[in-house]
Symmetry: C2
Subunit: 335 residues, 2 copies
């Protein structure tokens, strides 16, 4: 094989590091702030800012519907959007296992470029490290992000109030099942793509139409059930959701049956939960359905005064089942 | 052995992840912004901001003079300080290899706590991932940071001008040699501690006394020689340094002789290079020497019109030697 591979020297901080930064990162992701090339990027901002970070260790790094690069950009864009912020600037820090091909690295960076362009965020600072073969798994990516929160917006997981309504933006479980289907060691394949997507433009439209939104959260690791538990606890309210109202693709449902896992605990990477006053819920759903990443939006439940801190699922047969947080780990390295 | 160890379930996003965050991270690093516990931290800021990121993969994770936690905080604090910013907020994202003991993790977090307190920065958002045994190396840490740049300050690696003077804050090569001495596979030990330190308070005093500072850079990976090359290229100027003026501890010099490596290419984690107008250099050195992390500060060279983009070392014997950027990788995973 003649293809070029990353060696430890690419992480030395010397000539090869500079060449890698120039030939791959700056080439594809360059903008006038990244070009500053100082120890920190310098940007001008005013007001209430959102700041978030996530490391991505998903395995495999390429999967149906995306790859680790797209996931890393969209994930951080979404974390900013979930407090109502407009994502502006992002950092990109990559840990590479010695032996990764430059071709694979460039493929990931091109995917980052696409994701950055779709969401409108800019990568303004970065870092590259290389570790010996066997001391990482191909590539890990950290993205941190900064966004600006419009005046008057106060969206937080502890804002949910009794009688408010719970809206989900679309089908759940797609991402987790897509990752499982891509793992070679599972003799299982489902025709499911990851839902990884930037939700910032959807959120912007939602906030413009319904500034009264109380809480937003993207149900990633731990899935819908865990995220609703977080909101119930933070807001000290109860939550009830209707099993029959939760949108799940048939292929995801079948895969979950086969694997014996519950889709309510599977990670999503392009979905959100909104909690909103009852009288605004229909308007919100309508606005969401006009956006490509909200077209399957629907109301799935309500906030209650009863059983504060707890989430109850009302099954198709009308039974009430306590939905706990995820315990144990059915799906390691899903993001 | 009965000690508790990190399992994959700690990275699931479910109950154990929440418990780990509460019992270790929030317990030791908590502040009112971190307590928000939303997908992003919300902070209010105005003006010119510095934004930076670094991932730390140093091996071993504990070494003379510090550990990966202290390094991760100080490194990002210093990157902010190098554009003149006051470090304010930091993110903390940890990738843990399954099997790390909770005791070791807590030791690292306590070290982070100390470093955070010394520099005055606050950790406001974070992330924890766990990967299978053999898919990482104990622990990798990413920190990203935000700081505010005072009005009127314009410090950048492309600002160096002919006839300006080059000041270094202290002895070079300490960090790299400390890491090598801690590696079990090297039959070598030197009585050298890492110089890892937060330089923000030193920089603040420097800027107050000499706001005309043109450039600041901390010579980490690639060492003094590589960093000076970066400045020479970015500013399109030549740089000359005097070998006899560069402060190096005897123990570091001896270790470098023994290992056959050049201290000018060894990483530092608590030192800086300042480029300053000639008539302000003595004042700057005096101010630096009054600060604990600048007590060995001295002038080591000058900026020239000649040989733009190149760095020349004037040896003890008066010979002129071209100092290139680091090529190859004498010291992998030094930070």
């Amino acid at each position: 094989m003649n293809e070029k591979r990353i060696t430890l020297a690419y992480g030395s901080g010397g000539r090869l590091t500079h060449q890698l930064i120039k030939d791959i990162f700056v080439k594809h992701l360059g903008n006038e702030i990244l070009y500053q090339m100082n120890d920190s990027a310098v940007v001008t901002l005013n007001g209430r800012l959102a700041f978030t970070t996530d490391s991505y260790v998903v395995s495999p790094i390429f999967f149906p519907g995306g790859d680790i690069g797209k996931l890393a950009v969209n994930g951080t864009v979404n974390d900013l959007a979930m407090v109502g912020a407009e994502p502006l600037y992002m950092s990109l820090s990559i840990i590479i296992e010695e032996g990764l091909s430059l071709e694979e690295l460039e493929k990931i960076v091109l995917s980052i470029k696409d994701a950055v362009e779709e969401s409108g965020v800019r990568i303004v600072t970065g870092d590259t490290k290389v570790v010996e073969k066997g001391k990482a798994d191909k590539v890990f990516i950290n993205t941190s992000g900064i966004g600006v929160i419009p005046n008057g917006i106060d969206i937080s997981g502890n804002n949910a109030k009794p009688d408010e309504v719970i809206v989900v933006s679309g089908t759940i479980g797609d991402h987790g099942i897509a990752i499982l289907s891509a793992r070679k060691d599972l003799s299982f394949s489902a025709d499911v793509k990851s839902d990884t997507a930037p939700l910032n433009r959807l959120v912007k439209k939602m906030i413009e139409a319904v500034p009264e939104i109380s809480a937003l959260r993207d149900p990633t690791r731990g899935g819908l059930a865990t995220t609703l538990n977080e909101i119930a606890q933070a807001s000290n309210v109860g939550i009830e959701i209707e099993e029959s109202e939760i949108p799940i693709k048939d292929s995801v449902k079948n895969a979950c049956d086969l694997l014996g896992i519950d889709p309510l605990y599977i990670a999503n990477e392009g979905k959100l939960i909104a909690i909103v006053p009852k009288d605004k819920a229909d308007l919100l759903v309508e606005v969401m359905r006009n956006s490509p990443y909200g077209k399957d939006a629907r109301i799935i439940g309500r906030v209650t005064r009863e059983h504060p801190g707890k989430v109850v699922l009302i099954t198709r047969l009308g039974a009430r089942r306590l939905l706990d947080m995820l315990s144990g780990d059915p799906l390691p390295r899903i993001c």
